[in-house]
Each structure stands twice: as C-alpha cells, then as structure tokens.
Symmetry: C2
Subunit: 657 residues, 2 copies
C-alpha cells in the first residue's frame, strides 16, 4: 500500500480525510513548533504522580456517584468478593467446582503431608494449612482458579530459615512457635503491601531470576527426598548439593533400604507415567491428579499387609487426629524470637506473594477477567494471619494444583471450599489410616511434583532472548543448588537490582541517519541503508536524563562527536557543525540532567558546534523552559522532528575552506 | 523554510541532494521494513556491554599500536600526570601558580585550624592535612584547578560519625587512631572505586540531594560555631538545631562573653564585607581570600595586647610545632574498631569523592580539558591513604579554595605544591604565634566560609524544574538540620533511589495523534492540535520494558484502551480495531517484557483488537525475533513508523454496523 504525493489518501469504507496525505509542509507554511502542554498546578502534578504510582487501577472508580447505602454494599463486596459473585452462583457452576474441588483435594492431601516435612513440621500441619486458609481465601480472594495451600518452595524456604534459628528436632515446641510467628508476619507483610498499595515491590524480582530460583529449589527439594526415597536414616541438615551427595554416597553400603527403594521407585514410575498420560491427552488430566492418592492408598495397603515397616521401611506412624487447634498464644509477640520471626516472615511472605500473584495473573489472563493485585495481597495476607492463629504455616497458591483446578473445570473459589471440607473430613476421620503410609511414597510424590518446577524451556528462551537475564537465572539456580535457598534468593535479587541500576546509569545512544527517500531518521546500525547528513551529527538518547546518567550521557555525546570528527578528518570531509539531539525517548529530565545539557552546550560551543534539540516531550520542554535552558540555546534550535531540524540547519551550514 | 513536494530540495552552498525530498514513497515502492541489525556473537555482545559500563572513556585508546618502551612511558605518565604536563612547564605558568598557591595558603591556614575542630581533632591536624595530601595529589591528579585539603562538610561528617563511637574528649588517643583508620579506608574506598571503574556509583547521589545536604550541613556547622562566637563553654554534643538552640538560649544570661562576641561580630562583618567586595569586582577576588588571614593576625595581636584571654576570651592556646609525625602504627588493622573504621571510612570517602569530582568536573569544563574520573579517584584515594599514615584526616577538594585558586590564575597543580610548602613553613616556624588567636575568630571564618555552601538559587531552580528533586533536596536539608548529618545523608540517598525505582516501575505512556498536514504523530496532551485516528489507538511507551515495569505497562495499555472505548461508546463512535504501540523509546526488553507483550497481544485479540508495533529498536527487534513473538503477531504487523502502520491498518478496518 503506497500512497501518492499531493493527493488525499482514498479509501471507500471509512473517512480518513483527516489522515496525512503528505509530510511536506505546504509552501511558506510555518514549521510546526514544539508544543508546551498547559502547566499543571503543583498539587495536581503531585497527586497525578501519586495516583499513577499507587492507584494505577483507579480502585475507587466504581464508587463515584453512588448513594450512601450502595457505597456500603460496594465496600463489603470489595472486601468479600464472594458477596458479588455468590449472587450469580448456580448448580451448573457448583458441579464444576465440586469436581475440581474433589480432584485438588485428592492431590493436596498427600502433598500436604510431604510439604510439612520440608518445613520440618509434623504432617498434620500440612493438612491444617489446607483447611483454614483456603476457606478464608474463598471469601476474600478474587481469583477463580487459584488453589490455596502449602507449596513446596515456600515450605523449603521456611524450613531452611527456621532451622537456622532453632533446631526442629531438639526444640520442637519453640520451632513450631517460631513457625507460627513467621506465618503471622508473612501475612501482615502481604496485607500491608496490598493495603499500602506497594504491591509493585514484588515486581523487582525478575521473571528470569524466579525461573532460576524455582529450578534450583526444585532440585534441592528433589535431592532432599533421597532421604525418604533411599530409606536413609542419618541425613545431612544442609540443603546444598555437595552435602546431600556426601550423605547419599556415604550411606550407600549400609544405609540404603532396598524395600524402601523398591516401593519408591515403582510408584515414582507410576506417577511419571500418569503425568505423561495427562500431558498427552488433556482430557485425562485427572489421571495425574488422582495418581498420588492412589499411590498412597496402594502403598499403605501393601506395607500394612507385608508389615514392611519391620524390614526398615519408614512409615508416617501417627498423624494427630482432629482439626486445627488455636495457636494464637503460641505466636511470639515479644522476646528475642520476635525480630527473627518478623525477618523470616517478611522473606517467606514476599516469595509466597510472588508465586500467588503470578498464578492469579496467569489464570485471570487465560479466562480474561481482571484481578486487583493489591486486593489479592490483602486477601492472601489475612488468610495467612488467620492461618497463623489456627496452627497453619505459610500458604499460597500452588502452581500444579491451580492448573489441575483449572483443567477440572472450576468456576469459582467454591472449589477451594470443597477441598477444604474434604481435608476437614480427612482430619476428623481418616488420619489414622495414614499410619502405615511409607515415607518413601511421599518422597516419590514430592519428586514428581517438583519436577515440573524445572522449566528448561523457559531457561532456553531466556538464553536466546537476553543474556543478562540468563546470568540472573543461572545465578539464582546455582546459588540455591550449591549454597542455600537464601543465598540463591539473594543472588536473584542482587542481579535483578544490578540490571535496573545498569539500565539507569548506562542508557543507550545511537547515531541516526536518513532512510533514503523519506524524512525518517533511524539508527544507522539497525538500518545500514540510512545515510548520515554531511556536517550534521544526529544522536538519539534512549532514556530519561537523570542524575544517575547525566554525566555519562554528556561524556558519551562528546565521545561520539570526537569519534565522528576523527573519521571525517581521516577522510578529509566536512567538519561537524550541528549536533542534533533526538529527544523522543527522553521522557524526563531532572536538574542534574539540565546541568549536563548546559555543560554539553558549552562544550560544543567551544568546538564551534551548535546544539539542536528535536522533539523534546511535554515534561522535558516544560523543564527546559523553567530552567531557562531554552533561552540559552535559543528557541529556534528546538524542533518538532529531526527532519525539521536538518532542514533548518542545512542552509546555515558554513562552507569549509 | 518550506520544502516542496516532488522536488529536490535546493540550496546553493552545499550539496544536500542526499536529503529527503519527500516522505511519500514513490508509487508501488515497498514500504520500508523494520531493520534487524546483524546478530552479534555472544562474546562480542558481552564485552560490548562490559566496555560500555566500565570503560566508557576507552582508557587504553592511547596505548594502541605503541612500542614497548613508549608504552612504559605512557603508563608512568598516566599514573603520574605531572610527567606529562611537567615537560611543558615554564616560568609564566609558575608565576600564575605561585600567586594562586600563596593566596589559597593564606585562606587555608585559618580554615584548617577551624575545620580540625569540626572533626574533634587538635588544630595542628588540620594543618598536617594541608601539607601531605596536596603534595601527593600534585603528582598524581589531573585537575589543574582543584585545591586539596580538609573541608567543612567532610570534617563535620567525620567528627559526627567518630564521636558516635568514641568520646573525643575522654579518649583522645583512641579517637585519633579511629580517625586515621577511617581516613585510611576512605582512601582505600576511593582508590578501589576508581581502580575497579565503579566511579559511576557516586552518581547515585542526585545533585538536588547534594544541594540540600550541603545547605543543611552549612547551617549545622554555622550553628556549632555559635559556641566559639558567643564564648559559651558548656555546649551540646548534638548537632541538630533544637539541641544547639537550647544550648545557646540556656546560657544567654551567664554563659555568653561580650568581649568574645565583640571580636567575633566585628571580624565577621569585616569578612562579609570583603566577600561582598570580591563578588562585586571579580578583579578584587584576593580581598576575600586574604581577609581571613588578616583577621587572624589582627585579632591575635589585639588579644595579645589587651590580654583579653583573661577576660574569658577563649584562645587556641598551643598548636604543636613541627611537621606531621608518622601514624602508620596508629591505624587499627585489627580489633573491634577495624569494622567501625571501615564503615566510617567508606561513608566519608564517598562524600569526599562526590565533592572532589563535582569540583574537578566544573573547572575542567570551564577550562575545557578532559578529566578521567576513575583516574582522579585513584589519585584522591592514594592521597588519603598516604595522608592516613602521616597524621592527616580525610581531605578532598574544597569548593571555596578551588574557586579562589582558579580566579588567582593557577595553571597547574603546582599551586597545591606552593600551598603545601607554605603550610610546611607555618608548621615549622610560626605555629607558636597562633597561641593567642581567639577561637571566636575561627568561628567567624568558618561561618563566613560555609555561608556560600547554602545555595538558595540552586534550590529555587530545583523547585521550578522538578518537584520530586525538590523533595529530595528538602529531605536532605531538614534531615541534617533537625536530626543529624547521617540521617540527612540517608534521606538524600533513599530519595535518590526511590526516584530511580519510580522511574523504572512507572514509566510514562502517551496517546499519540496526527499533527495536521504531516505524517508526524505526537502526544495529544502536548499538541492539542494533534487528532486521533478513528478506529486506531496509538500509544507510545516511554521506557525499556523490563521485569520491573512489564506488568504495569500491560495493565496501563489495557486501561488506556478501556478508557478510550468508554469515551467512544458514549459518543457512539467507531470502536477501536487496531492498537499501535509506538516503540521508539523502548530501548530494550527482557523476557518478562516479552511475556507481558504476549499477554497483551492475547488480551487484545480477545477484545477483537489487533496489536501493531511501530519502530522497534535494534535490540528489541532481535529479541522479539528470538522469542518468536514476531511470528505470533505476524511480521506484517510491525512497521518502521507510526505513519506506515496507520496507512496499513486503515484499509483493513471493518465497517461497523
């Protein structure tokens, strides 16, 4: 589709008379000037900034122009979304939720028992945590697909952080109390972040870092399961690969139990097969979902019949019967463990939040509904606060169970209620049946579950698209695998921050050239056909000019000029007389930036080069005016486009001797 | 200057045949495609990034293609710039340096004695610090105008930080040792930052924050001088304005000494008058420069004659005669004060560096020579390391003395050598003469000196140009004045960082419209005449799309669309069918960013809106290809310019019922 000079562009269907027919200005028409937006009042400017930072989603939009009583209903509905969607709830939806709830319940019960062990807690605490928090979430949360409960990575992280403080074997009671304390403060952290609308803070952990961290955590968790898988009794407390491998090989001759290995290996094969079937045929998603429960039932039965526990196969022994007891009095609100609890809680809470918000967003986007991230955080936070008072440890959304929930056709958070009730029945009625469940089967179930956290495809894609991201990914991965979960996390955060700092200190700059037969100016490296304009250097600065990069930008500009001049000298060509700075990407400038521009202007003047600006944005032009920089370089050296600037500079060029 | 369609643009003097005559493509010519730069090898890409981050100035440029012996000379010259400029040194230059050196010496001697008190050290340490460090700097530094020595703000900062650890009155020896330790590590920090080419780290303190911090420090220092000025003996140790004012008013009836006040006030008037004269007539710059020395001589004489010290006028008493003794053995290299020393050293070293590098840059720019920031840091660092071993405390470039140095016509760092030798003579010969110098006169000299650190003009300019910068400025100012130097510094750094984080989490976005009779698309808020294209929403994203902002950008895009659709619905106009994202300012994208684009694409598809990209940059287009995003949206939905995209979309628009 080419369009013709001097003619209106024609199209039958719609009126596009307003579209530009030509770039060329009609003869003698004035060149367009750079616009200055109307000046905002300081207060407006400030509230605008605050609003954009904290209230991007305009949460009070619905409240505008409502009556008093209607507002109260809206407030209640916004705190308890169940009041909103509950009114449209019907049997069809319930059918979906019931099936989904039963499916995730059968998946979560064996996982819960295993994950509790990762957190160094007794098995019933895993079940407790799948009872209360999902109930709270169902009333307060707005995701329809997330499945709430204990998850592998958070359990591992919590376990590692807690055992650094208190020995979970020698001081069981204290350890538990610290776990509830951490859970309480994890909840407070989450709710506070949401309430203060600081949810964007979790965005500071880059996706690449999360991929690496998750992969590393999965390997660490998998390795720790070798204890149960091989039936080893003396196992290291450390989680790094070297300590674990030493434990494993050190016991190869007299510490492994072949009966355990037999059970573990055969059921792992069964679970992997089920997973494979589920992947091949999406309709059979329920096969991998109920496989863990079947494994538990079968293996328990086998052990009970064969009394393999007498042969050294370790079993769960006793899970306390009955529902959660209150743990309000166990939380440390004073004393030396308060600080520790807060610290661990903040870390675990943030990681849990990262996981939950990624899940929520993914499924909301798949079903095309909107989630209010900050409100979600308040819901997750309160769910953990209540959890900490009812013997639960930190819970969040589980990737694998949410996916099953989604595939099983869940419609609303009612599936979480169904799951919660099934867990309740389990706690009240059938926990004694788990007595003979071999630990080995739990190891197999966990290994099977965490395998899907290792996302090799994502890592490959990261490698292909962004090498720096890949470093972050691998840093986090190796940090977790070779040192510890905390170190991996620290590496992930540090590299993420380093990337941000790099971005703001070393912005890109590019020399522009004219694309033949157009007035378009583009990066000469990207468009080799673009040609430089003799006597004029056109440079695009690709970032806001702030204190963090203003010196660099000034120096880089001068270096571009020197390089260019040396080249021209070598070829004996016309010297540079105009330096056009394309400012389209310069979205903002601060006082240091203006200072740098002033210095640049003076440096250039001394070299006999005129600084010319093209297309400064609204904020920038206002600040340039306010600081009188426009007076310094002259209003006639600021243009709407590079093309205009070139057109204006060309006639002024002095002929060289 | 307008140019005509279909014609070559004509100009007599120069050949600009290569310039575009028209934006319109000749009939049937293909639309320009977005270019993909040749793919770099990973290693090249990585080294390119490292080079741009750490070696922006290409420090080895001069070494290329040189012989071995020449290289050695170049290395020596680069470590000791005196070897380079020393060869062109002549008598004319020396005349300038001699006069400048004598002038700054007369200015620095009284200041040094006063500043040593700010650091809670005996007066001779101020003089020591004006003897050794300037000598070292003269050989290693490359600034021609900077005047080295103790400065007010760093002295105050060091004093405050040190007295938090050790009482300077009760434990004089330990306090001194810690001061030398901090000085040693300040030097190590500076040299390391330079050597590791991490000098850009000091750019993270924004100019606005520095203006506020300096102003606050000046007020704090001025207030502390009230002790000497009013002759108060019992004075608070705290530096905040409230404690100081309580001390001052609490002693008004029986603690003030009128003789002291008389001396202090009259000489302060004299100094201010001298400063005023110097400002009015730039040729009389030497009047304010020698006024402090004259005040010292006169006041000392007056006190000696009248024996005013018997009337309660406090005098300096004794300054130890002789040059610096070695303090190598006094530095704590082990023990509990090592860590404290490192901590204080790092902070003081960074602040000193900020001051020195600002001065160096300012004067280099005024005389138009280049400074290698990283090499300067190494020079400053080694000067402090040597200083710490010869009884000096942290020194850096002084703003006021450097300005005098410049105005007195200094040519090279030899003026520092001259100053250093004058200080040497002072130490060896005339320190006993300072015995009767009243403390009040030192207070007047310091008050007079720090007044110029309060830069109200700069603060006003900051207010006018950038409100956020102003908050940083005032935060630092009030932090220093009302709490303490450390808190002020902490506030300054925090606000600076908050600004960076805000920049990377909440980038700007803007709706573009067509500027009448052109193919230029600009922000409709900045150019009210720009008109939106019916059925098409054009949005410019003003930042690299990174993990820290990818979710925000996606959500913001959708919100723009919703807002626009609601408006259109209200007016019953054509619905949006194309969403053009102008990517010129999007300089980079990472995996999270691509993810967000994919999600955005899917969200839009579901609404029946096609995503179209305009002008992705070289890095971005390569990554979009690598991640197969281009395949997802289709290569034919990526255009070189917004105008091209609009032209291509318009015919495809479906007529609405």
């Amino acid at each position: 589709m080419a369009y013709r000079p001097g003619e209106q562009y024609e199209h039958k269907e719609i009126d596009i008379a307003s579209l530009p027919s030509k770039r060329i200005y009609p003869e003698n028409s004035p060149v367009h000037k750079v616009g200055r937006p109307p000046k905002q009042k300081i207060l407006d400017e400030f509230t605008g900034m605050v609003k954009e930072t904290f209230f991007t989603d305009d949460p009070l939009r619905d409240f505008k122009g409502q009556t008093g009583s209607r507002k109260i209903i809206l407030v209640l509905q916004s705190i308890f979304p169940i009041l909103e969607w509950g009114r449209d709830y019907n049997l069809t939806k319930f059918r979906g939720d019931l099936i989904a709830g039963l499916t995730i319940a059968s998946l979560c019960i064996p996982q819960d028992i295993g994950y509790a062990k990762l957190a160094n807690l007794a098995p019933q605490y895993g079940l407790y945590s799948s009872f209360v928090p999902p109930l709270i979430y169902a009333f307060m949360g707005s995701s329809r697909d997330i499945a709430i409960g204990p998850v592998a990575v958070v359990s591992l992280l919590l376990g590692t952080l807690l055992q650094n403080e208190i020995d979970p074997v020698k001081n069981v009671a204290e350890y538990q109390r610290l776990a509830f304390t951490a859970t309480f403060f994890a909840g407070i952290t989450q709710a506070a972040l949401g309430f203060l609308r600081l949810g964007f803070l979790i965005d500071f952990l880059s996706r690449a870092a999360i991929v690496g961290f998750m992969g590393g955590a999965a390997i660490t968790i998998g390795l720790q399961q070798l204890k149960g898988f091989l039936g080893i009794t003396n196992f290291t407390q450390n989680s790094d690969i070297i300590s674990v491998m030493q434990s494993v090989w050190g016991t190869v001759h007299h510490g492994w139990n072949w009966q355990t290995i037999l059970i573990a290996a055969s059921f792992l094969v069964f679970l992997l097969l089920a997973k494979y079937i589920g992947k091949k045929n999406k309709k059979l998603f329920w096969v991998p979902a109920i496989a863990p429960m079947i494994s538990v039932i079968l293996s328990t039965f086998i052990v009970y019949i064969t009394r393999a526990d007498k042969q050294g196969v370790q079993i769960v022994k006793n899970i306390k019967k009955g529902i959660n007891s209150s743990s309000v009095n166990e939380i440390y609100f004073t004393g030396k463990y308060l600080g520790t609890g807060i610290k661990i809680g903040v870390v675990a809470g943030m990681i849990a939040l990262t996981e939950a918000s990624a899940i929520g967003r993914t499924f909301a986007s798949m079903k095309d509904y909107q989630l209010d991230g900050n409100k979600e955080m308040v819901a997750l936070g309160l769910m953990n606060v209540v959890g900490s008072m009812t013997s639960c440890y930190v819970t969040t959304g589980s990737f694998s169970r949410s996916a099953v929930n989604y595939m099983a056709g869940c419609q609303t958070a009612v599936s979480n209620i169904v799951m919660s009730l099934v867990v309740l029945l389990t706690l009240e009625l059938i926990t004694p049946l788990f007595e003979y469940t071999p630990n080995a089967i739990l190891a197999s179930i966990i290994i099977n579950a965490v395998i899907s956290l290792i996302d090799i495809e994502a890592a490959l894609l990261i490698w292909k698209t962004d090498k720096f991201d890949f470093i972050a990914c691998m840093g986090a991965f190796f940090g977790v695998v070779f040192v510890s979960v905390e170190i991996g996390l620290l590496i992930a955060i540090s590299i993420s921050f380093a990337k941000i700092l790099l971005q703001v200190t070393r912005p890109r700059t590019a020399i522009l050239g004219n694309i033949p037969r157009t007035t378009v100016y583009r990066n000469v490296q990207q468009y080799p056909e673009a040609s430089k304009v003799p006597g004029i250097l056109i440079l695009r600065v690709d970032s806001a000019i702030y204190f963090s990069n203003s010196n660099y930008i000034r120096e880089r500009c001068l270096r571009w000029l020197t390089d260019e001049e040396n080249q021209l000298k070598a070829k004996d060509q016309q010297r540079i007389q105009f330096f056009i700075m394309e400012m389209s990407p310069v979205t903002d400038i601060d006082t240091s930036g203006i200072n740098a521009l002033e210095e640049l202007y003076r440096n250039l003047q001394r070299k006999g080069v005129q600084l010319v600006l093209a297309n400064p944005g609204p904020v920038v032009i206002n600040k340039l005016h306010a600081s009188k920089f426009t007076e310094l370089i002259g209003d006639d050296h600021i243009f709407l486009t590079v093309a205009d600037a070139v057109m204006a500079c060309a006639p002024k060029m002095e002929e060289e001797a």
